[in-house]
Structures are given as structure tokens and as C-alpha cells.
């Protein structure tokens, strides 16, 4: 590890640009994941068997398929089928849709944790289904759902390395480390700084999630 400082000082610019690429990828994927995840969750809890089934199919498929395979399908696969997605779009689609399956499950557990009793009670008090969801269930579910979603963001930061390292070939933190390594052969140093880069993102995120957990904890 003797070249530990020169490696970062000589290559600071590309390490930083790698960090930005990772952040951009996680940001866009998060939006995709939240939108699709909420939609799928609503299918799962809707009082319609067909929608339940579609939601279930989505969740089981996207939770059990490796993200690497999904990345190949969304980039090369779609391009061949005539769907033209740019690199960042394909990458965010893969990471976003993958994570959406987990978000859907988190939302679904959050809602069911609130309890059937509350749904029945508010319906019998004259609230419509919609009002029940919006004013009774969801606000409570929201509090239980924050920690898992926070943890999923951390998972996304880690998983971003997979989509970027696939055939999509984005220059994220890990890719930069590999490039620096291939030029200088300083494997330990190059990967050390990549590790630091990821920890700079995941550790603060973990701390924030733990704080939120205690703040939003529902005392039962």
C-alpha cells in the first residue's frame, strides 16, 4: 500500500466523476423504483384478484432474477428489439425496476402492519375506501415504511456497481478503480479508494436511517 496517497491525488478527478455517476444512477433509479413500487404495491393490496396476481408476478420475477441479467436484458436486449435507451436510462431502468419489487413489498407490509381492523373500523364509520387509505392507513404505514426504504436506498448504492459494471459500462466508482488499476497495477490502493468512495455514501445513509427509525418508531 505504498502508493496509497499518489493514487488518489493523481486520479482525484476521475474518482470524483465516478462518484457523481454513481449518485446520478442511484438518484434516477430511486425515482423509478418509488413510482413503480407504489404502483405494484397498490396492485397487491387492491381488492381485485387479477391485479393482485399481476403485482405478485412482478414481485416474484424481479426479486428472483439477478440484477446483472436484468442489466443485459434492458440494454442489449431492448436495443435489439428496437427500443433505444441511452446508457443511463437503461441502467436506471434495470436498477429501478429491480428495487421497485422490494419497495412494493415494503409498502405492502407497512400497510398490512397497520391492521385490517383499522380499515374495517373506518369503513364502518362511513369513510370511503379512498379516504380510508389516504387519511387513516397511509399516514401510519408511511412511518413503518421509512426504515425499509432507507435501507433499500443503501442497497441501491451497492447494487449500482453491478449495473455499471455490466455490458452497460458506466464509469462509476468501481469502474474508475478498475481503470486506475489497469494503468498502474496498484490494485490494493485503487480498490481501497473505491471502497472509501462507497462507504462515504453508505455509512452516512445508514446513520440517517437508524435515526429515522428511532424517530418514527411507533410505540405499541
Amino acid at each position: 500500500m505504498d502508493r496509497i496517497l499518489p493514487i488518489i491525488t493523481n486520479n482525484l478527478d476521475i474518482y470524483l466523476s465516478g462518484l457523481l455517476v454513481t449518485l446520478q444512477l442511484v438518484g434516477i433509479s430511486f425515482v423509478v423504483a418509488m413510482v413503480v413500487g407504489t404502483l405494484v404495491a397498490s396492485f397487491r393490496i387492491a381488492p381485485a384478484k387479477l391485479l393482485n396476481w399481476i403485482g405478485g408476478f412482478y414481485v416474484e420475477t424481479f426479486r428472483n432474477i439477478p440484477l446483472l441479467v436484468l442489466s443485459i436484458i434492458f440494454s442489449a436486449g431492448l436495443l435489439r428489439a428496437g427500443v433505444s435507451l441511452g446508457k443511463m436510462s437503461a441502467a436506471s431502468a434495470a436498477l429501478g425496476l429491480y428495487t421497485a419489487a422490494y419497495i412494493a413489498e415494503a409498502i405492502r407490509s407497512g400497510v398490512s402492519a397497520v391492521g385490517k381492523g383499522q380499515i374495517e373500523a373506518s369503513l364502518s364509520l362511513g369513510f370511503t375506501y379512498r379516504q380510508t387509505m389516504r387519511q387513516v392507513i397511509l399516514p401510519q404505514a408511511f412511518r413503518t415504511v421509512i426504515p425499509p426504504i432507507g435501507n433499500l436506498i443503501i442497497a441501491m448504492i451497492k447494487n449500482s456497481a453491478i449495473v455499471a459494471g455490466s455490458i452497460i459500462a458506466l464509469d462509476d466508482i468501481l469502474k474508475v478503480a478498475r481503470i486506475v488499476n489497469s494503468r498502474t497495477f496498484a490494485t490494493n490502493e485503487a480498490f481501497f479508494w473505491a471502497g472509501v468512495g462507497y462507504l462515504l455514501l453508505t455509512i452516512p445513509a445508514t446513520i440517517i436511517v437508524r435515526r429515522l427509525e428511532t424517530r418514527f418508531a411507533i410505540k405499541r
Binding site: 440494454s75 442489449a76 435489439r80 446508457k87 455490458i167 459500462a169
Partner: protein, 308 residues
């Protein structure tokens, strides 16, 4: 308890079945391709001097050679035969035959082939590897055994006809850890580089339109054109890329042995045979014969940049 036990027995049987299936298919899988040329060299059996790597290899009875598994015509895996084939593979078998040992082929991609020599995973590397002075700091090379040239591959009807056309807004694909990272950085500084693990990915990308061009050794590009003739190789040669057989650092006796063996293949016509089979019959061109270049010439082409 009864139900539990049944589940465990079933699980165990499944695992055993899987393992048995995996073992059953060991024969004929890639790994050992052994001696290809039918042992005529018995009278000239090579005696390795004691204490040299060649002696170790003879004692082990086998030599592990890192080749590409996805770069026809130099090294590629054929799922129908389960074996690796190609120019590099044939050269590897030739070397193994001289030693009288079996050749085992493992996959060496561009960014792990040098670590493989450093840590002993591979004894030799025959993986379209260009001789450079920087690499010489980490490993040793034999004399050049093939001379490739850097070219550019583009799809049909492309506006790109040479290195100068790779300007702002174009994307070029090449392998992470190859000499082209540097070459393209110098000769086409405005182009965006797509760095991937394997040339098969570059091939996919140029066919599906995610990159405008692929740049690497002409033999690799030729392999792609053979598979898809809508692609074309354009432009003047960017670089001369002499390939060398790689061996672990500071093993000068091994490097000398390899150089001698390569030269023998030039003299006895084997090299020409390999060339014709893997390249000549497709391109119809005559190669720049590697005997024209020495190891020193090769180092001069790629002088020291990072490891000085």
C-alpha cells in the same frame, strides 16, 4: 420430526443428483485439450535444465495457459465441442508438445491476465497480449509470435473512415486493461471510451448501435467481421501490436525457452499452418511475419509510461 426429515433427505438427494450430473459431464468439457499434433516429436524430446520453470512443468505433467475464451479466431470456447479453440490455443499446444506435457486452458481476460502470472494461476499467457515496456515491469515476454495492427471497426454506412473521424460525440468500445485505452486516449482524445470486460461485449454493442466504433487488434476485428459481414474495418493502422507469450516476472530462462520454441514454429512451417487455418483463409492477406520483429523492437513501440 418425520416431515422435517423427509424434506432434508429430498434436499440432500437433489444436491447429490446435481453433483453427479456435474461430474458426469466432466469428460469432454473445456479444461484439458491435451496434445493436438500426434506425438511425432518423440525423437527430439526436450530435456529441461534442472531448476528451470520448464523442469517444473515437465514434473507436473501439465502447464496452465491463459487464453481468451471469446475472441475468435485466437481463443474462443466452442459450446458444441466443449473445448477452447483458436490460434493462441494451437500455439499453446505446440509449446506443451515440445515440453511433452498436457496443456490446460483457462480464461484470461484483459484485466486479470497479468495478475494470473503474478500469482501463479497461469504458467503462460497466450491471450492476444501486446508486448509493452510497462507490462515488462510486471511479467516477462517471449519474442513476438504474431504482429497485429490496431484498426477501427464500424457498421455499414458509417461516416467514420479513420481515426480522425472519432471526434466529439462519438463512442468507441475497447477492452478494459488493453493497450487501446491509452492509444485511443492519445489519438482520439475527444471520443468517449466504452470500456468493457470482453470483446464479445464490444461486438454486441456495435451490432446493436450503442457504440459507433470498436478499436482493437485487426485479428479480433476480423473475427467480428467473419461473424457479421455488414461490419467493416477502416482507416490506417493505428499501432503495431506485437503479441508475446507471457510468463511470470524475472523468469528469463522460461522466456528464452519460449522464444526458441516460437522461432522453431517459424522454421518448421507450423506457424504458417496456424496462420492459414485461423486468419489467412478468411482474410486472404499475407501477414507481417513476426520473425521480422525482435523483442527489442517491440519494446521500442511501447515505451515506458507508468511504471518507469
Amino acid at each position: 420430526m418425520r416431515g422435517n426429515k423427509r424434506l432434508w433427505i429430498i434436499a440432500l438427494m437433489m444436491v447429490l443428483a446435481l453433483v453427479a450430473a456435474a461430474c458426469g459431464d466432466d469428460d469432454g468439457e473445456d479444461g484439458d485439450t491435451g496434445d493436438a499434433t500426434g506425438g511425432e516429436t518423440e525423437e527430439e524430446a526436450y530435456e529441461a535444465p534442472a531448476g528451470t520453470p520448464m523442469a517444473d512443468w515437465q514434473e507436473e505433467g501439465s502447464i496452465t495457459i491463459g487464453v481468451k475464451f471469446d475472441v475468435p479466431p485466437f481463443g474462443f470456447e466452442n459450446p458444441q465441442s466443449g473445448e477452447v479453440e483458436g490460434f493462441d490455443v494451437d500455439m499453446g499446444n505446440y509449446i506443451a508438445d515440445k515440453l511433452g506435457v498436457e496443456a490446460e486452458f483457462i480464461e484470461a481476460i484483459s484485466d486479470n491476465r497479468i495478475p494470473f502470472l503474478a500469482d501463479g494461476t497461469a504458467d503462460l499467457i497466450l491471450s492476444t497480449m501486446t508486448i509493452t515496456t510497462d507490462r515488462d515491469a510486471e511479467i516477462d515476454f517471449s519474442r513476438p509470435y504474431y504482429v497485429a495492427q490496431g484498426r477501427i471497426l464500424v457498421p455499414e454506412g458509417s461516416d467514420i473512415q479513420g481515426i480522425d473521424d472519432l471526434g466529439q460525440g462519438t463512442t468507441v468500445c475497447t477492452a478494459l486493461g488493453s493497450t487501446y485505452e491509452g492509444t485511443l486516449g492519445e489519438q482520439a482524445p475527444d471520443a468517449k471510451l466504452d470500456l468493457v470486460d470482453a470483446y464479445s461485449e464490444c461486438f454486441e454493442k456495435i451490432q446493436n448501435g450503442s457504440v459507433d466504433a470498436v478499436s482493437t487488434d485487426d485479428v479480433i476485428l476480423t473475427g467480428m467481421v467473419i461473424q457479421d459481414d455488414s461490419l467493416q474495418i477502416v482507416g490506417e493502422p493505428l499501432t503495431t501490436e506485437p503479441y508475446g507469450v507471457g510468463v511470470a516476472n524475472d523468469e528469463t530462462e522460461a522466456a528464452d525457452f519460449l522464444s526458441e520454441t516460437v522461432e522453431e514454429s517459424f522454421d518448421d512451417g507450423t506457424w504458417d499452418g496456424f496462420y492459414e487455418e485461423w486468419v489467412g483463409q478468411y482474410t486472404g492477406e499475407d501477414p507481417q511475419h513476426p520473425s521480422e520483429l525482435t523483442l527489442e523492437d517491440a519494446y521500442e513501440l511501447f515505451p515506458c509510461v507508468e511504471t518507469c
